[in-house]
Every structure is written in structure tokens, then in C-alpha cells.
Symmetry: C2
Subunit: 599 residues, 2 copies
């Protein structure tokens, strides 16, 4: 563990915020009128310090000693008891919430960068805050004033924490099959009975109460997803005389292979018939409410995938600069000194690939954060609608890119450490374990492929909006002096990707199974293309800066590094798109036609 690991590059965060994604322009929107670049940077600086000084040093101890489950309760790592108030004090739970609910009303663009530092430092520790924010936001968006008063405010203040309780053992990803029951009681609350699994932060000993935002089926509701409602179920019920036991119990702890600071639990409601839940919003709308939250959670997972790849990238970069081994190619004098392994071209390949994934992924996640800001707070309705459409389209892509390519990146960080990387004396293996969850939770990569091709890419105007954005970037890139061949490659790949969807949808409008056959490859195509787009944006900004004359040798090196990483992605990854498009158009049918008994 390198004490000086920066988690993320500060220079890169500043570049992406202000030179690529024009965060300063957000200050012109009325919602952010109270802010200026200083308040943005102050929040980022505070988050960075907390991440580096408090969360990161606690990461290894929390990974080594997972929470314990004794006496029916979960006891988390003792360090969390001092970390939790610091996270609340930073205001990360409500950074982007409105002033009137106690938030700081910062753009998601800024808040998400702060979160990225905290995630890179200590994913498990941060996530108590992230989960609480998501759960409280559901109440803010859909709950009654009474629920906001009694639940949301305490959660935003960090007095209580929150969870999302969706998954049931028998249903898995198929949320329409959940069975947790809700029966209306005389007092207007619901008697809840059922069990949930994989509830992150479902119990702990760092705050007074836990509110589970839970999907359940009101007795008599229709089968399938239309019969599902959303409930707030507190561990301790806030009654007249204070908090009383609400028959919520921890039935087991999953032995996760990563995220070991955060317990993942089996939670039972109403084992003794005494569990009360409060309906959030309208009956039967549970899944649509939850999907709004899930879209935010997916971007949070994407960000955390990038952050987890980032911290490992920086660790392997430092290692490659320090570790000496072998001689430069062609210089085989055995008496000469060994060189740092960064001098070996293939080690630089592994580093540049990580850089391309980390900084390309960060840019894609920043793009989604900025779209969310404009979708919610833009001053033009068309722009708001267009931003929402693009955000919807990019969400499964950004989440899956960070999960899948982030995992590749984390594996390279381990590989660069050689035999040492294979030991738990070094941290890359821990980050590799952490990263693996991201292709599973908040929708598996399979689900996101189906969701992208079967729904989001078909939304009227969505692909056209993306196509226009990419073409605009191409024009700007050309004007800034980016090599024409790279600009043309970008245009062609984006055009092929957009045309592919239209072709598949046209061909198989009556046969969704056939239409969706290559959903995984379509997702891969869009991951590769959208990150290429982000690299072209970064290359454009770097070219501009270089043509104006960078202010220091370090700045010069920074921009040259950007151009190399952009080149890597555009020339090494983007060419993967054409054969994938052919595969989809040809409807290659090997797995589609393989019967279960043929394996």
C-alpha cells in the first residue's frame, strides 16, 4: 500500500471538470446561482482530504476484518464509528440535494467527483452514505410530507441510515416475482411479512436507526411488476414514545469476497407478526419509483467502478516507476543496472490501458452527471428533455463499462505487481475483489444489455441525440487539430452503431428474442464507442491547451499523456467495433441455437 496513492489524479479531475465538461457553465443556471468555482473546489478539497487522510488508511483494516454477526446484530469495523460522523459533517449525503431539505444544492457534476475520491479511498465506508442518500431521496421524491418529516430529514442528517431492499432469494433479478406481503392495518400503516437478501448496510452499529426502502406486494394486488408497492420499513419504529422495536431481524450475513467494510445481509420482516411499514407514494408504483432510484444507483456503481480501477491504476503506476527489473530491450549488458519496469513497453501498455479505462470511464460518468444536472435544472425545456433522454441511454452503458472494463483494468494493476500482486500483502487483489461485484449488482451486465437494446436505444430521439453529440465532438476535434483519421474512425464507428440498432429493430419488431440475441455485443459496441467519444473530447481539449502553450513542463506532460491515451483507445479499442457490428448484423446463432442438453 503506497501511502502517497492519490486515489484519483487531481490534475485530471480539474481538467475533466473545467476543460472538458465545462462545469463552470453550470454556474449560470439559477439552481446553482449561490455557488461559484471556489465553493465547488472547496467541497472537492474537503472530500479529497477526508478520503486521503481518514477513509484510505482505514481501507485495509476494514477489508481484513469484515463485520461480525453476534447476538442477532451486526457489528461493523470500529473505525466506522469515527468515519460516519466525518462523512455526515462533509455533507456528502445531501451534497446535491436542494437547500430546502438541508442540502448544499451542488451540481451532481461536482458532487460525483467528490464521491469518486471517497469511493476510491474506501468503498465500503462511503457506501453507508451513498445508500442512505439513495433511500432518503426516494422519500423526498415520492413520500408524503409526514414521511419526509419523520424519515427523510433524519436520514439526510445522518442520524439514521437507509437501505434498498429489493432482492428476494427465489426471485433474483426477476423483481416481478417478489413475494414480501403487505397488509393494510387500522392505523394506516401496513403489516409486512417476508424476507430479503443481499441487503447492503442492512444492520450496523454506527447510527440509531435504519430505514429499509422495501418492495412488497399488497394483499390482493395483481401478479407481476404492476402489483409491487414501495414501503419505508424502519428497524425501530418512531412512535409516540420514541423508537420501538419493529420486528426487523437479521437472519444471516453473506460472506462477500469484497466490499468487506459493508455487511450484506438476509433481512426478515415480521417474523413475529409485528413489523409495520409505511407506504411510499401510490400502491402499485413501487417498481417505477425504485427504477428512478436505481438509475441513480447504477451511475453510483459506475462511478465506484471507475474509482476502484483508479486507485489500483495509481498503485500500479507507482510500483512500475519504483520496481527495477531486467534491462531495456536491446541492451542486454548483465553488468548494467536493472531498469524500472515502466521502461518495458508491455508494462506501459498495461498502464496506458488502465489510464484509458479509468480516465475514459471517469469522463463518461461525468458526462452523465452533467446531463443529470441539466435534465433537472436546465433553463430550456428542450435541453432538459434531450438531456434526460441521453442520460437514460447512457446509464446502462456507463455502469457496464465501468464494471466490465474496470475489472480488466484492476486485473492489469495486479498483473503489474507480478507475484507480489498475487498476495494479500499488496492491495491490488483487494480492489480486484471489490470490482467484481459491479457487474452483478444494480442489474447484471446481461440485464443492462437487454435494457439498452430492448428499451433505451429504441426511445424516440435517443440515438439521434447521441449521434449529434458525437458529430459535434468530431467537428470540434477536427478544428482543434486532432488527426483526421481518428476523427473519421469515430464518425464511422458511431454511425455503424446507430445504424445497427435501427436495422435490428426494423428486422425483428415482432420477435424480441431474436432482436435481443446479441444484446451483450451491442452493449460492448456502445461502451467502446461512447468512451472513444469521451477520449476524442479529451484529445480536443488537450490539443487546444497544447496549441496555446501549456503553463509548465508538468502541464505539457499531462496533455501529451492525454493524447497518447486517446490514441490508444481510438486505434486499439475502437477497431473492435466493426467486427462486432458484423456479428450482430449476421445474427451469429451459435449460442442462440445451443440446446441445454448439448452442453
Amino acid at each position: 500500500m503506497t501511502a502517497g496513492n492519490p486515489l484519483l489524479s487531481d490534475r485530471d479531475v480539474a481538467f475533466q471538470l473545467y476543460e472538458v465538461h465545462d462545469a463552470a457553465a453550470l454556474l449560470r443556471l439559477p439552481a446553482f446561482a449561490d455557488h461559484d468555482r471556489d465553493t465547488f473546489d472547496l467541497f472537492l478539497a474537503n472530500a479529497r482530504s477526508l478520503a486521503r487522510d481518514v477513509l484510505y488508511p482505514a481501507y485495509r483494516p476494514m477489508d481484513e476484518a469484515a463485520p461480525s454477526f453476534t447476538g442477532g446484530r451486526i457489528h461493523v469495523h470500529p473505525r466506522m464509528r469515527s468515519i460516519w460522523p466525518r462523512l455526515c459533517e462533509l455533507g456528502v449525503i445531501t451534497a446535491s440535494r436542494p437547500l430546502d431539505v438541508g442540502g448544499q444544492q451542488l451540481p451532481r457534476t461536482i458532487a460525483s467527483m467528490a464521491e469518486a475520491y471517497l469511493m476510491a479511498a474506501n468503498l465500503g465506508a462511503y457506501c453507508y452514505a451513498g445508500l442512505t442518500a439513495g433511500a432518503a431521496h426516494l422519500i423526498e421524491a415520492f413520500g408524503s410530507d409526514d414521511l419526509k418529516d419523520r424519515y427523510m430529514r433524519r436520514m439526510y442528517a445522518g442520524e439514521w441510515t437507509g437501505t434498498m431492499a429489493l432482492t428476494e432469494p427465489q426471485a433474483g433479478s426477476s423483481l416481478g416475482d417478489i413475494r414480501t406481503r403487505a397488509v393494510l392495518r387500522d392505523d394506516g400503516t401496513y403489516a409486512i411479512e417476508g424476507g430479503k437478501i443481499f441487503i447492503s448496510g442492512g444492520d450496523h452499529d454506527i447510527a440509531d436507526n435504519i430505514v429499509h426502502l422495501t418492495l412488497a406486494r399488497i394483499d390482493g394486488a395483481p401478479a407481476g411488476i404492476k402489483g409491487i408497492s414501495l414501503f419505508a420499513i424502519p428497524r425501530l419504529y418512531p412512535g409516540e414514545g420514541g423508537l420501538v422495536d419493529n420486528d426487523v431481524s437479521t437472519a444471516g450475513m453473506i460472506h462477500k469476497i469484497g466490499w468487506r467494510g459493508l455487511p450484506s445481509l438476509v433481512i426478515n420482516f415480521g417474523e413475529r407478526g409485528g413489523c409495520r411499514g409505511e407506504l411510499v407514494g401510490i400502491p402499485g408504483h413501487g417498481l417505477s419509483y425504485m427504477f428512478q432510484m436505481m438509475n441513480e444507483a447504477r451511475l453510483m456503481v459506475g462511478l465506484n467502478g471507475v474509482a476502484t480501477a483508479a486507485v489500483a491504476y495509481h498503485e500500479s503506476l507507482a510500483y512500475a516507476r519504483e520496481r527495477r527489473q531486467g534491462r531495456a530491450a536491446g541492451r542486454r549488458d548483465p553488468h548494467g543496472p536493472a531498469v524500472p519496469i515502466i521502461e518495458h513497453a508491455d508494462v506501459r501498455r498495461m498502464l496506458l490501458r488502465q489510464k484509458a479505462i479509468v480516465e475514459g470511464g471517469l469522463s463518461l460518468l461525468l458526462a452523465t452527471a452533467r446531463l443529470a444536472d441539466v435534465a433537472h435544472h436546465g433553463d430550456d425545456e428542450d435541453e432538459r428533455r434531450r438531456s434526460a433522454l441521453l442520460l437514460d441511454l447512457l446509464t446502462p452503458i456507463a455502469k457496464s463499462f465501468a464494471a466490465e472494463r474496470g475489472y480488466d483494468s484492476n486485473a492489469l494493476a495486479l498483473q503489474i505487481h507480478g507475484g507480489y500482486g498475487y498476495s494479500s500483502e499488496y492491495l491490488p487483489e483487494a480492489w480486484l475483489r471489490d470490482q467484481k461485484l459491479n457487474s452483478i449488482h444494480e442489474g447484471t451486465t446481461t440485464i443492462h444489455g437487454l435494457d439498452l437494446l430492448g428499451r433505451r436505444a429504441l426511445a424516440p430521439g435517443a440515438l439521434q441525440a447521441l449521434g449529434r453529440e458525437i458529430l459535434q465532438t468530431c467537428s470540434q476535434a477536427q478544428a482543434a487539430g486532432v488527426e483526421l483519421a481518428d476523427v473519421v474512425a469515430m464518425q464511422e464507428a458511431a454511425g455503424a452503431a446507430v445504424a445497427l440498432i435501427a436495422e435490428l429493430a426494423g428486422r425483428h419488431s415482432a420477435d424480441p428474442e431474436r432482436m435481443l440475441r446479441h444484446s451483450h455485443d451491442v452493449l460492448d459496441i456502445f461502451m467502446t464507442v461512447t468512451v472513444a467519444w469521451q477520449w476524442l473530447r479529451q484529445a480536443t481539449a488537450a490539443r487546444r491547451a497544447l496549441s496555446q502553450g501549456p503553463s509548465s513542463p508538468a502541464d505539457n506532460a499531462f496533455y501529451l499523456g492525454k493524447l497518447q491515451a486517446a490514441q490508444y483507445w481510438l486505434r486499439t479499442e475502437l477497431p473492435r467495433v466493426a467486427p462486432l457490428v458484423r456479428l450482430c448484423r449476421d445474427e451469429e446463432d451459435s449460442y442462440a441455437n445451443t440446446r441445454p442438453e448439448w452442453f
Copy 2:
């Protein structure tokens, strides 16, 4: 953990041995004259039983309780004390060694399949045998009769075990930099002083003695690889009066993230000035001796990569058949029953990809084993030479394919298990950890890329021999009725791969650094092409069998599955080759030109 996990498919092993790789033809060679198909099958059956009944049930306990290091000694899992004699009794240490050293003189083709079952069942447990075999084989090949008598025979009998002691902390992969010293003593032995790291099985409590086959530098020897000699260094020295302490100590245990049944140690020789080593062969030849062993060890690693992917594939296949979730695409009736997840096309994609990697990799490893048999025991000198050349060429490819694509395959097995796969209650995460080492030990993937492009592919006649083999397969495939488009794709990809090497070598004969720039991509190209070749061979055999009318519905299903997996690889993976070839020919220079300070 599925009790019925077959580890490898018996049907597939029989198919590959007798329908694809014609193991029966080996019986015509004088070296194997004492065998017949019954003795082959009996050995396989015994290995299979031991693997399933003894090694596999011990896998999880051994993964959960790694060896302990107390009182200066390593104590391995108690189950190893009963497993070790069973492995010796099976004769796996000497299965392919000659009768005159106590072996069974079986072809590697047969022995390696037996090893694959044992590795799939319990990698760590098997490897005590594999390491002992490798170390003893070094003495058999290069040691004096005296050394054979005093060391090799006891090792082959399983009374003592063996290790390979190469790596030193400061040198890593750069073996020319090792510093362990050897000084000739009056009695003809050498006083040894130095430290080694990552010594697998370097200490344990399952046999009486351990012999470390160690690279060291005789005082006064030249710097670099030419000054390195090979020594046998026993933990207890076999003197006149029996075994006496030989000043070999365990200085530390690496906390590996996998292979937890087998300790990886820091071993010090001669801390008290009392360590004696015995020279093996001629001074200064240590590295060339070791490379012969390492080539065998690399194929062992390849086989274990395939085996580790295989056991996980079978686990995820059983899970996908049992686990019910969701509805078939297009049938969204929420009242209908949930379907086994194998009904979902993307789950079948993940299974078929695993099958293609596992059975394609097994075929490639079997091809190398058969080449080794013919190279050593063939009755025609030209054929022996040609086989040795091909074996040399395929070794880094087969090892790296199993390590890299095997890791992808293991990740898919975890993914199919969803959230459960992310917990240590299920085994896929353990196999994923095990697999990760294979891209690091016995040469990192980087090293194998450099070795392939910089040396093996340039050996006169090597690529031509591979090209001829592939063309022959193409002719047979066409005759058997394999689709012409697939045969043509194979020919084109193989042709492009072979031509690429000639072009790079011609262009940059004076600039090895430039020539080797895309060594990683070249390795990827050859991995993809050679496994496509193996799938074409399997498709050919399956087509033949289907045209003759399979003997049962199960057989019919088996052959149809082979055709689907072959189609998957030839149409989904093989098209990756063309853009990779372009990348290499264009000499894409992003990472080559990135300076260390630009990251």
C-alpha cells in the same frame, strides 16, 4: 459446491483422446508397446476416482485453512497427509517416466489427461506431485548416476518431494540477476548462501525430506545468465549416518490469494554457513537445464488453467440448469413458472464461451502433449524434429491461452451465479482466485509474448510447420462437410498470422524493441488462431461422427454441442484476428511512445 461436479467431461476426454488426437496411434510406437487402450483407460479411471472421491472433497477445506507457519516449520492441511500417499500410489509422479526409473512409461497424452482431473479437483494437492516430478526429472535428465540414486529415486517414489527454486526478490523474472552463491567445498559439494522467494511446497510435513532444485552462481562465474548453475539442495542432507540438518530455513510465508493448499515460501540457504548443495550437470548450464523443465512446467500451468476453468464451467452449467429465474423472452406472463436460467440466451452465451475456452484449451494442451510424445518417442527423425519445433512454438501460446482466456472463463462462471457467485459460500470465486496466478508464474504473459515473437516464432521452419498442420486440418474439415466459410476464415486468419511475423521480422531485424512492440497482440493472435484450429479439428471429428450416425441421443447431443462451440469460436473470436493484425502491421505506437512522466 455441487457434489456431482464431473471436473472434466469424461465424454469429452474420450472424444479428444481417440476421435481428435488419435491417442491409439501412439500404441504403435516402441516406447508404448507394453500398453494398450485398456491400460490407458485404467490409469485414467483411477486418476478420475481419486480426483472425485478424495481430492475434490478436500478442496474447500484446504482453501479455507491455508498452511500455518509455526516454530520455523510449515504445517500443511492435515488432509494432505492422507492425500499424498494416494497420489504416490496412483503413480502420477512417474506416469510418463521410463520403466527403468520406476515409471509407467505412459504417453504424456494420457498422463496429462489424468493430471487434468487431479488439478481440476484440487490444484494445491496435485501440485506437490507435479513439482516433485519436475524436480526429479531435472536430475534424471542432467544429474549424475550418484545423484539419481541418492535423490531422484526417492523423489519418484514419493518418499521425498521436490521444488524449483529460481526467483529471488531483487531479480524477479530477470533470472540473469540472481545472486545466490555457491562455493566449491573439499568434499565436492558446494556451500550455498542466498535466499529465494515464491518457493511452492518449499516446506511441509507430508514427507521426510525436500529437495530444492536451485539456481545459483558459483563464485567467479561470469555475470548474467551464463554464470548460473543448477544445484540440488536437500532440506536434510543424506549423509553416512542418515539425514542431517542442511541449514535450509523458511524465512516467511507469502499470503497467496489462491492455491491455498500449497504454501509459497521465502527460503534461505546457509544462514549459519552450513548448507550443502550438489551440482547438477555442468557449471554454467543451469538456466538451459531449467528451461527444459520450465517448458514442461509451462504446459503443466496451461493444463491447470484449463482444469481450473473446467471445474468452474461444470459448476456454472449445473447451476444454470437448476436455478429458476425470470420468464423466456417474449413470454412475460407473470403467472407462468420461472424458467431455468439456461433458457436465457445470454446465459447460454456465457456457458458456450466457457465451453469453447475449456474444450478448445484442452485440445490445444493435448496437442502439445502428443507432440511431446512424438518428439521423444517417434520412430522417424524428421517427425521427431518437426514435433519438437511445433511443441516449442505452441508452449507459450497454450500456457498463455489457458491463463488469460481461462481467467475470462472463470469470471463468467462466477457471473452466472449472480450475487451468490460473489460470496465464499459458493466455489467459483475460489477458482477465479486460483486461476489468476497462471498469468504470472512460469513466465508472465508479457514474457511469453516476447518469447514467442522474439525467439520461438523465428525458429527456422516453426511457423511453416504450424501453417502446414492448419492447412491439413482445413482440407480434412472441408472433406468432412464443415461449412466452407469457416474453413476459409481459418485459412485466412492463419495465413495472416504467419505472414505478420515474417513482415515484422523482416522490417525490424536490426531493432528488436520495435519488432517486439506488439508482442502482446501477436500472442493474442496466435492464441486465437491455434484454438480456432483445435475447434476446426473437433468440428471435423464431430461432423464425421454425425454423418456415420451417432450411437445414442446423448452422443448426438454431444456432437451437436461440439459444432456449436466450434461455430462460436470461428465466427465470434476468430474475427478479432484481422484488426489485431492491422494494429501490429501499422505499428500503433501509443504506449511505445508514452514517456513515464506522461502518465
